[in-house]
């Protein structure tokens, strides 16, 4: 108990003396962990959106050329129904007149979109659903490679190709985010280490005397390690406050106002993310002080 109060007093005193440096170190820890928190929350929201979307988009549309003969069409239909991943009951043929009708229905408030159409530009098509939305890509590939009269199929569309593109973009964002977080974490470690170096330098005389009277190496090191950890911990708490504010004032509002995007945060996410941020802060602080101690404190 005696030792604990001793270390706490030493840590607090040292932090106060190097206030400006300590504040800078804490701020960088907070920024790096804050960005980590935002990236994780953003990524979670996006992947939930995709999951929600995938639930209804097992849909594949196959567009046929106007040159397709009745015979060819029948062969293609037979092929589509025969794909094992496709739910055969959902394979529906939609001819171009129906398509135009639907189009007009959908945009009945904007007649300028269709009023002046002389010839129906919409193709005949098949709509189908896969049994499992995950297999959309597989089915698209199968049609693409093995369908009979492939030249009659002008286009194959699925919602998943759009999602895939989005996923790629978000993957990039996530990668950049992670690299940014790592880079900032390294800067944070170095800054913590600088504050500890300054603290070691300020107390070099005292350290010499401590060694002289037989202080163990760990007794000398602990206050510095605690100082680093305290900086990391304060930084992580600051980051949590910021992340929480962003969640309450921005993300929750987005989720509420953009309901059609089906955004959401997983319910357990915060309970895992925030403790991880605290642990991250402690690790940054401990690494920073360990680096400084290794280089500048010969005990």
């Amino acid at each position: 108990m005696n030792k604990v109060t001793y270390f706490a007093a030493e840590t607090w005193g040292s932090l106060r003396k190097n206030l400006i440096l300590a504040v800078a170190a804490i701020a960088v820890v907070a920024v790096s962990l804050g960005i980590l928190g935002l990236v994780v929350m953003g990524w979670n929201m996006f992947s939930n959106m995709i999951k929600n979307a995938e639930r209804k988009v097992g849909e594949v549309d196959v567009y046929l050329s106007d040159l397709t003969t009745e015979e060819e069409r029948a062969a293609i239909e037979e092929f589509l129904v025969s794909i094992p991943e496709v739910d055969p009951a959902t394979v529906i043929y939609k001819n171009k007149d129906t398509a135009l009708q639907e189009f007009k229905e959908r945009f009945k408030d904007q007649p300028e979109l269709w009023e002046y159409i002389d010839e129906n530009p919409l193709p005949n098509s098949y709509e189908l659903l896969t049994k499992d939305p995950k297999d959309v890509g597989l089915v698209v590939g199968e049609i693409n490679n093995n369908a009979p009269y492939r030249e009659r199929i002008e286009d194959i569309k699925s919602a998943s190709s759009a999602i895939e593109k989005l996923e790629n973009i978000f993957d990039k964002f996530r990668q950049i985010g992670i690299i940014g977080v790592l880079a900032l974490a390294i800067v944070a470690i170095l800054l913590v280490s600088v504050t500890i170096q300054v603290a070691i330098f300020a107390r070099r005389r005292e350290i010499g005397i401590m060694k002289l009277v037989g202080a163990t190496n760990w007794f000398i090191r602990w206050p510095f390690i605690m100082e680093g950890i305290a900086e990391g911990l304060l930084g992580s708490l600051l980051a949590i406050v910021v992340a929480w504010a962003v969640k309450v004032w921005i993300l929750d509002k987005l989720i509420e106002n953009l309901q059609f995007l089906r955004l959401s945060l997983s319910s357990g996410l915060i309970a895992v993310l925030f403790p991880c941020m605290i642990v991250g802060g402690i690790i940054i602080g401990a690494l920073g002080s360990a680096y400084a101690l290794g280089r500048f404190l010969e005990v």
Binding site: N2, Y6, V213, N217
Partner: protein
């Protein structure tokens, strides 16, 4: 208590600080280590607290070969050896009491033990009334007494003093050595490095004389001997 066998210390640039030093110092002895500056006195002290390691030779303290001592055990060695230096090495922002209590805290003793023993030891060195003074409010002699109290607080079997009277008014120097003598009479082995001729001649203790890193004289009840 202390045995040195052919101890040689060479610093960078082929500087021989000590050469083939062999000696025994028994438990409870009071020994002056004399010699001009650069004769190897400080290296002798540094070797004993393992602040430096010998280039060759063996050093035993209480039958333990400190050359082979693991690094993590060195602090425990230093707890058995009190040290006093010419420049006192007191912490300026701590009071007399805190400076002495510090040496106890560092070894993990409780506040309560410190509260009991620190005033006692400060009384022993004649500073029982200056517990709350800061070092810069004290004379050199008084500061050195604080340093001696700190060195003695953990009751070490050995006390090393490196020029303890060097920064003390000559009229007070004798008092410092009397204090070391008092500590010695309680059973502590005392080694005092000095080039204060008057002191050495007045006290008539064992004298080990160093010159250029070699022992040139080892004499019981000796005198300083240099001119």
């Amino acid at each position: 208590m202390i045995r040195m066998r052919r101890v040689t210390k060479v610093y960078k640039g082929n500087v021989y600080a000590l050469e083939e030093v062999t000696l025994d110092i028994e438990r409870g002895e009071f020994t002056f280590l004399v010699g001009p500056s650069g004769s190897g006195k400080s290296t002798f002290i540094k070797l004993l607290i393992k602040e430096e390691v010998p280039t060759a030779g063996q050093i035993y303290i209480a039958d333990t070969n400190i050359n082979q001592m693991r690094k993590w055990k060195v602090p425990y060695l230093r707890r058995k050896i009190g040290c006093v230096f010419q420049d006192f090495k007191l912490l300026p922002h701590k009071t007399v009491y805190q400076n002495v209590a510090y040496a106890m805290e560092v070894t993990g003793k409780s506040h309560r033990v410190a509260e009991q023993q620190v005033p006692e030891v400060l009384k022993l060195v004649g500073l029982g009334h200056k517990l709350d003074a800061f070092p810069d409010e004290l004379s050199g002699g008084e500061q050195q007494r604080v340093a001696i109290a700190r060195a003695f607080i953990n009751r070490p079997p050995i006390l090393l003093a490196d020029e303890p009277t060097g920064n003390v008014d000559p009229s007070l120097a004798e008092g410092i050595v009397r204090l070391l003598e008092k500590i010695n009479s309680a059973g502590t082995t005392v080694i005092m490095a000095t080039h204060d001729k008057q002191i050495v001649n007045a006290f008539r203790k064992r004298v080990i004389a160093l010159e250029n890193g070699r022992i040139i004289r080892d004499q019981d009840r000796g005198v300083y001997g240099y001119e």
